[in-house]
Symmetry: D2
Subunit: 210 residues, 4 copies
């Protein structure tokens, strides 16, 4: 594809990322505006760069004419949560919308089944209908849901992978795993506190009624 064709090809993905970012940010805004806890801390999104799409297509053996079905994360949305438990609340929000403004294709729980590298996140692949000036289109998009600690770790692992072109030396890989353990430990400590906050709040409520 030429530069112009790529630009044309990527338009619905760019629109989808903008729309989905607005939609998930709205969840946070609306919950906070009515004084409720928001499981969403912040939202980012990006369209995969052309060079990365080509690279991934080669790696997966996907023909260029099949990339819109063969590569699922050309449009990517990332939702960050404070606590591990919040991730599943967000998953439920998305499931509630299944068949409405989006369609769930499949889910991957890399939290209960984390990768060897230490990677943890919840992935949902969706079909998303988009209206462009050139007509309607349905695209695939990947939603990644993670805690702040998971995101912190993943960002750094990603830049190391990029620097070492996938061949991370063993002793550094060892270090990354240790960092993943530390991030995991941090999330666990936080989850325990969260539980206690809820208990404490319930105790307080009961007490104030007697």
């Amino acid at each position: 594809m030429h530069a112009t064709e790529w630009r044309r090809f990527l338009i619905p993905y760019e629109n989808a990322v903008e729309e989905l970012k607005v939609k998930f940010k709205s969840i946070r805004t609306e919950l906070r505006s009515i004084g409720e806890y928001s499981p969403i801390e912040f939202v980012t999104g990006r369209v995969k760069r052309v060079s990365s799409i080509i690279e991934k297509a080669k790696k997966l053996g996907v023909d260029m004419e099949d990339i819109s079905t063969g590569i699922e994360d050309i449009a990517g949305i990332r939702i960050m949560c404070q606590f591990v438990e919040d991730i599943y609340t967000v998953v439920d929000y998305i499931r509630d919308r299944d068949g409405r403004d989006l369609e769930i294709v499949y889910e991957k729980d890399y939290i209960n089944n984390y990768k060897d590298s230490g990677y943890r996140s919840y992935h949902i692949i969706i079909k998303y209908p988009i209206q462009t000036a050139l007509g309607p289109k349905t695209i695939l998009a990947e939603i990644q849901i993670r805690t702040l600690a998971m995101n912190f770790w993943a960002t750094i692992e990603h830049s190391l992978k990029y620097k070492y072109k996938q061949n991370i030396p063993e002793h550094i890989e060892e270090r990354i795993k240790k960092a993943a353990d530390a991030a995991f430990k941090l999330d666990q400590e936080m989850s325990v506190i969260r539980h206690e906050i809820r208990l404490a709040q319930k105790m307080f409520e009961v007490r104030s009624k007697t």
Copy 2:
């Protein structure tokens, strides 16, 4: 309604305004990215303030429990175009989406049938489905499409109306009408040039091929 109830009531309208702004801005971005002319110059949006909703409900005799159907512009989108002709291109874009991500309720052509005050704009009332954290909802929204000159005039007329609480003195009303004429003249001059640009471009294309 209490402040909290109002906040809850307005959430889907706020989300709709954010989504619709992103959607119409995307049309401009995508057309420009592929080197095509965009009929959309810029897009703004707003949710009507609570005090204005209450005022309008009183004026129209709409009961508070019926405002979501009785007041059509709680969510408002404004699309600005360079030329009068562009307005109708935008109208066609919206009609193309009818039954997809929005539903047209009715249209009002205040350009061919401008108001006595001098007001000119194209209005489309739509139904727009929105997903909130509290469930799905369909709301009404008003899309106003106008040239920059129409918008310039309308903004100023609006602030005068507001200052005079609808009772604009006659000699000022006279002046506003003169300003509307000047704005209308400006749009007409621009339309003539636009036609000539297109002719000139066609001549150039033909010449460059012989």
Copy 3:
């Protein structure tokens, strides 16, 4: 200059545009927040594209090593006002800052002395100190202040100039001048009303005290 050198060269200009946009938008925000009239309607900014800088340097006979002093509008800020009178209020705001966060180099009043083409705007060339990660730098920037009608006209004239590569055919030039007259007429009508609003408000104030 190579692409990387250009990017490095343009960094302080990009920072300056971002800072100046924030600064002038703040004037509007703060005046409105305390219930005062803002002479600033909206603010835009842009850094000149490399191709346009090169073109202008050739046209003006400026050597490439002198462009930072020879081309004054690499950083450009545009401030839009509702009324012609507001332009001079904004000019006063900028003069008040002279020697503080910016330094005025010179001013050009294309409103009282409009160009043959019909172009009207107030230009102020400033020196603006900027802190970059690579050290401090002082750059030149151009601030254009105009009414919405002036801006509307200028935008369209600019695109016609661009399309005809400066050689606008005479009969179209004639049309553009007519459009400029219409825009000028619109501004005049608005100015008259503005005066009357103020008078009306004073009358009202006096009456409400007796």
Copy 4:
């Protein structure tokens, strides 16, 4: 102070936060645009809410007429870094600007001297000159510089403190400290890797030249 007085009082703080956010974000943008590593990951800012200002003034025994000197964090900027070492690079950037667009009042290193609670961050209190529509003003602002892990922990500690109105139960305080340890461990692991990345990159550079 009445609501209007508060709004007037907070204007320069709001402007300062906007300007400083733009300035620190620019550092990231410019370094990345020339292919250099940015020690700044992201930047946020906020003006303290009126209720929090009043509360803090009471706690510190500051009279209401002295809050502009007695409360140093009415304007707050937060800069997030990937690695602990980046924090000190950012501190150096700010020191370089001392006497230019800002003035350093004092610094507090809560990284080498972390608080009992486990709180770690680098604080710089600055004087910042601001031009408002109502004249020039110099305000105090607090810049907090931290790693993503420090920020993650601090955010959660802050919300717990808020929920327990400063009186966090001992067993939860114990838990928070454990979480701080986990966050600290994560930062340490990351720092070790950072060193190795640099070594690896140097080896690579040397190898590619022989």
